[in-house]
Symmetry: C2
Amino acid sequence: MTSYIIDKLYDRVEKRGVVCVGLDTALDYVPEHIKNGRTPGEAIFEFNKQIIDSTYDVAACFKVQIAYYEALGIEGLVAYKNTLDYLREKDEIIIADIKRGDIAATAKMYAKAHFEGDFEADFITLSPYMGMDSIEPYLPYLEKGNKGVFSLVRTSNPGAEDIEYLDTTENKKVFEIVADKITEMAKNCVGECGYTAIGGVIGCTHVEEGKKIRANYNNMFFLIPGYGAQGGTAEDVALYLNNGNGGVVNSSRGILLAYKKANKPEEFALCAREEAIKMRDAIRKAVKEA
Amino acid sequence: MTSYIIDKLYDRVEKRGVVCVGLDTALDYVPEHIKNGRTPGEAIFEFNKQIIDSTYDVAACFKVQIAYYEALGIEGLVAYKNTLDYLREKDEIIIADIKRGDIAATAKMYAKAHFEGDFEADFITLSPYMGMDSIEPYLPYLEKGNKGVFSLVRTSNPGAEDIEYLDTTENKKVFEIVADKITEMAKNCVGECGYTAIGGVIGCTHVEEGKKIRANYNNMFFLIPGYGAQGGTAEDVALYLNNGNGGVVNSSRGILLAYKKANKPEEFALCAREEAIKMRDAIRKAVKEA
């Protein structure tokens, strides 16, 4: 049986808990003492490095949101590359949050871009709007075992109603059809842990829906955004997990900016660690009580 | 009345025809004599420059597919930036084919990334899967008049059936709901030409559908991929236009690799020009006869 990257992620969750640290690092998140004497790209990389060093043993993985780096142009993308390199050197699992969605030759180029070379990550996020041929070009990387994807399925932003929640004449919502199709597609890349190399981005919403989604897509690993800053609670999140695994829960600003609440910019990395631990433990507790 | 970037694009189509030259430049498209003595990034930029110089007066605009550049990492993105800079210096209209799709702060970062700074373009393509709040953050740039977007609406790949063509219980297909919503959203950015700053990516399919889509979304400007290499004919395309305007028709490999059919690598730029003219004239003829 192939050992998949999803097995490594599963193990990390077992050992370290479900927290995914979101490195959505805007320049204005970086404290002054880190910015001083550094270019914007250097400052962001230094901030990320300290956050990584301070949280890796209490986090399952890191999600790097490429938009924040693209916004700084070439310099930002050098900081992005440096951050990925640093995570890889430390053997940390990288989810590149890129939400690319294109087909055929273009999708193959995106696969090359984000599974090889300067921007190599372990997982990438994808958008399925154009259909399953916007996911399928990534399969060769997945079937080799060392790469994975998370397809957008159902998010928790207000706009999710616009397309994802539309009722179709197949008596399913659009997102349920997407989830069914990626489940079918993932049949040839099931890891030893029982989850597949094609995960789903599933935003955290109300209780009944969480239970239903978890039950319906039981071998889909979930990337769950929206904790903290965006409103999801530990109790909500627990329902999207199977005994505390089967998903990772992302927090970006909640962790990166924990120092602002404490008003301790000099200790931003320690504040981030404390916040990650608090989050991990709150979710563990909610899982036990669920 | 504000003059919008869409008015400029409309004027270009009036003067130069509907051809959009797709700069999906893979390194192996570049002839040996251009590669010699150049790094991959330099070779791609030199190839693009010669294609641009040779086609700009017979093309409405240029679409640059970022995936091909991302695949070469930082070096590729420098070639991407250089290509955009070169187009901007020549006052050519740039469509950045990036198909980004994200919400809130992240979408704002993508807007900053691709409407300002190193990667500034005139238009960008977007993916609407997460809903209208993945389009809305770009509106401030659109309403100022100088930027535009094309949202994915209905593509012509086989996978289009998977989501875009799903029948909803509102008696419309998913792509029709998307088209309705972006039409509604675009009401405050209608140009003097009658088209709005939120265009739609509409792949070229069979005749009846083309007529219906054109009639239903009459103030939506279309970005039409799939000409040539992907199978669309001039007659198909004509039905998506209003008297030869209201859309641009992209060809990438058909134009970039025209030299291969002629077996004239030394004359790749001239072959590209001849192919663009042939395409422009074939569509003009089909429009007259439609």
